[in-house]
């Protein structure tokens, strides 16, 4: 099986879907690149992170559409095109920019299916880049997906590896509701075995990344590999840790989490997002409500603090959870009597 980076896997998923379905279009800022420039070298461009490289060359300007800097219109155009039967993929370069264009998403696209009595949903995907780690500062580093999960009608996908990214994106493109597909900027270069052919991963199905009988760690996005690192290190101390990656936070696969908690009775929830009204608190609350009788220790959350993301790399390193912080949390719930 070929090795692909997450960047390549995402590119490949779009390519396959665009070949299969002429109604899939891609719209965003610099998704082609080079438009209106002295050299139309779009093959080399394909977005600031190169994720859409080559799509313009294959599918042309009618289907790979560069826009001005105009996020409200991008979201609205995607929602309107979806309402009239297309399957747009809108790219919002950084998730932080949702601040500029949220109305078209949460008042419009998210509500179509329900508000219009089930006539039609917005079959659109918004691909967007999230997360800290590049020293990009407070307006380019946020993990704001809990906001999307709060909104009925939106689906929210958070891949943690290249294999999942491809299968989840293909599924998201075929889904009939608006999907926010969150790509962590620090994962684009991570490699994985990824099949050449098309495959789908259902939305709302968690992945048990690692089995374990003492402690359950539920980790999201970039936190998954840190949780695995922590779990492997604790194996030596005789602590057997399960790691679960929900993969989509809305819909959320509570059952897979509860099954593991039934065995372990001890839980750590790890997320890079801020802690208030977060996925970490939501998951903890579901476990407490529906798995109370299994619990043998208080559920512990490991998250970023309730602050913006600092520009300073020194402070940024303190901001997001680390394997060391996750290990400490696992040990503390394990030791709880």
């Amino acid at each position: 099986m070929p090795q692909m980076t997450m960047r390549e896997a995402i590119n490949h998923a779009m390519r396959l879907e665009m070949r299969r379905d002429p109604e899939v279009i891609l719209i965003g800022e610099d998704v082609a690149g080079g438009r209106g420039c002295p050299v139309d070298d779009v093959e080399a461009a394909g977005g600031v992170m190169g994720v859409t490289a080559g799509l313009f060359n294959e599918f042309g300007e009618a289907r790979v559409i560069d826009t001005p800097i105009t996020e409200s219109a991008i979201m609205g155009a995607a929602a309107g095109a979806a309402l009239t039967g297309m399957r747009p993929i809108a790219e919002l370069m950084f998730a932080d920019f949702f601040g500029v264009c949220f109305d078209q998403l949460y008042n419009q696209a998210a509500k179509f299916r329900y508000m219009f009595g089930g006539q039609q949903g917005a079959a659109m995907v918004v691909r967007t880049m999230i997360g800290a780690g590049m020293g990009s500062g407070p307006q380019h580093s946020q993990a704001i997906y809990p906001i999307f999960a709060h909104i009925p009608g939106l689906k929210v996908v958070l891949p943690s590896c290249a294999y999942d990214a491809k299968g989840l994106l293909i599924q998201s493109i075929r889904d009939n509701d608006p999907v926010i597909f969150c790509e962590h900027k620090m994962l684009y270069g991570d490699k994985d075995e990824v099949p050449e052919e098309s495959y789908q991963i259902p939305l709302g199905q968690a992945r048990v990344v690692r089995e374990g009988s003492d402690v359950t760690v539920v980790a999201l996005g970039r936190m998954v590999k840190l949780a695995v690192e922590a779990a492997e290190a604790l194996e030596e101390k005789g602590i057997s840790t399960a790691v679960i990656d929900p993969r989509t936070i809305s819909p959320l696969d509570v059952d897979t989490i509860l099954d593991s908690v039934e065995e372990t009775g001890r839980v750590v929830v790890v997320d890079e997002a801020t802690p208030m009204c977060s996925m970490a608190s939501e998951i903890a609350s579901m476990i407490v409500s529906d798995g109370f009788s299994s619990l043998r220790a208080p559920v512990k959350k490991v998250t970023a603090p309730h602050t913006p993301v600092p520009a300073s790399p020194v402070l940024e390193a303190e901001y997001a959870p680390t394997a060391a912080r996750i290990s400490a949390a696992i040990e503390s719930v394990y030791a709880y009597r």
């Binding site: 800022e29 610099d30 690149g33 080079g34 438009r35 209106g36 420039c37 002295p38 050299v39 139309d40 070298d41 779009v42 080399a44 461009a45 600031v48 560069d66 826009t67 001005p68 800097i69 105009t70 996020e71 409200s72 219109a73 932080d96 920019f97 601040g99 500029v100 590049m134 020293g135 990009s136 500062g137 407070p138 307006q139 380019h140 802690p275 208030m276 603090p305 309730h306 602050t307 913006p308 600092p310 520009a311 300073s312 790399p313 020194v314 402070l315 303190e318 901001y319």
Partner: protein, 323 residues
Amino acid sequence: MDFSEQELKTAYRTMRHMRNFDEIGRREFMAGTLPGFMHMYCGEEAIGAGVCAHLSDEDYIASTHRGHGHCIAKGCAIEDMALEIFCRQDGLCHGKGGSMHIADLKKGMLGANAIVGGSAPLAVGAALTAKTRGTDKVSIAFIGDGASNQGTVFEAMNLAVVLKLPAIFVYENNGYAEMTGVDYHCGSGDIAARAGAFGMPAHKVDGTDYFAVYEAMAEATQHARSGKGPVSIECIAPRWYGHFEGDPQSYRTKEEIADLEKNRDPILLFRDRVIAETGLTQSDFDAIDAESLEHVEKAMAAAKAAPQPEPADLLTDVYEVYD
């Protein structure tokens, strides 16, 4: 020429500081010592300098991601700016903002901004402060050609016209928004005309010509300070470097860039014209060059050696951290 030698030297020094700040910043960025992003202002110096020459500390500016030049022109201390781009503890924002968020409220510098189009509504708000308090202060929004297409900018212009606010919208048309050309992204192709259609005087000038920017801004500030409402100025000054450091610029030709550096360098254009029309000489400017280079190098070296923030600083300046 209607300028004193002192004014001319100050304008030149300001532009030379900007150039040195970004060239040295670029060198450090490439050496891996500077974190985050580095957006170079080279080629556009005459805009920031010509605009801010008309402003005092009590006037306001709201800037962009390409904001170093604006900060220098508005009087931010180069030492404090250097500390901030290195994200050091004593930086203007204590390292929490970095290059794209340098702010110095004491100087009326309301922040660089990493959200494209974010500056215009904020500048309108500061203009509202000036009008409400009955001062003659003005508020400037720096806006890129790419940013000129944002809804926030259109809304801000209309509100400024409706409320007759002392706001000045300065468009920095450097030909590109990241890797997309202005001919593609700006539908009408004429940013000034579009601003004018909102109901305000709209100028269009060569942004590599300090004197052209200065003249337009003189008219604009007079208009705005006297309560007649907003003005916009489109300044055309092509970008020399990539969108940010590290952009390979495969969408441009080497010839275009070489031609800019040779023929459209705002600092050289200024210098040549001043020498031709006044008593100032090459050696006057050479002296400023040397002095500026030393000043900026020193500030950058000091910043590089300055202490990093402490981990505990992560949790300051928020009202509650819920950790």
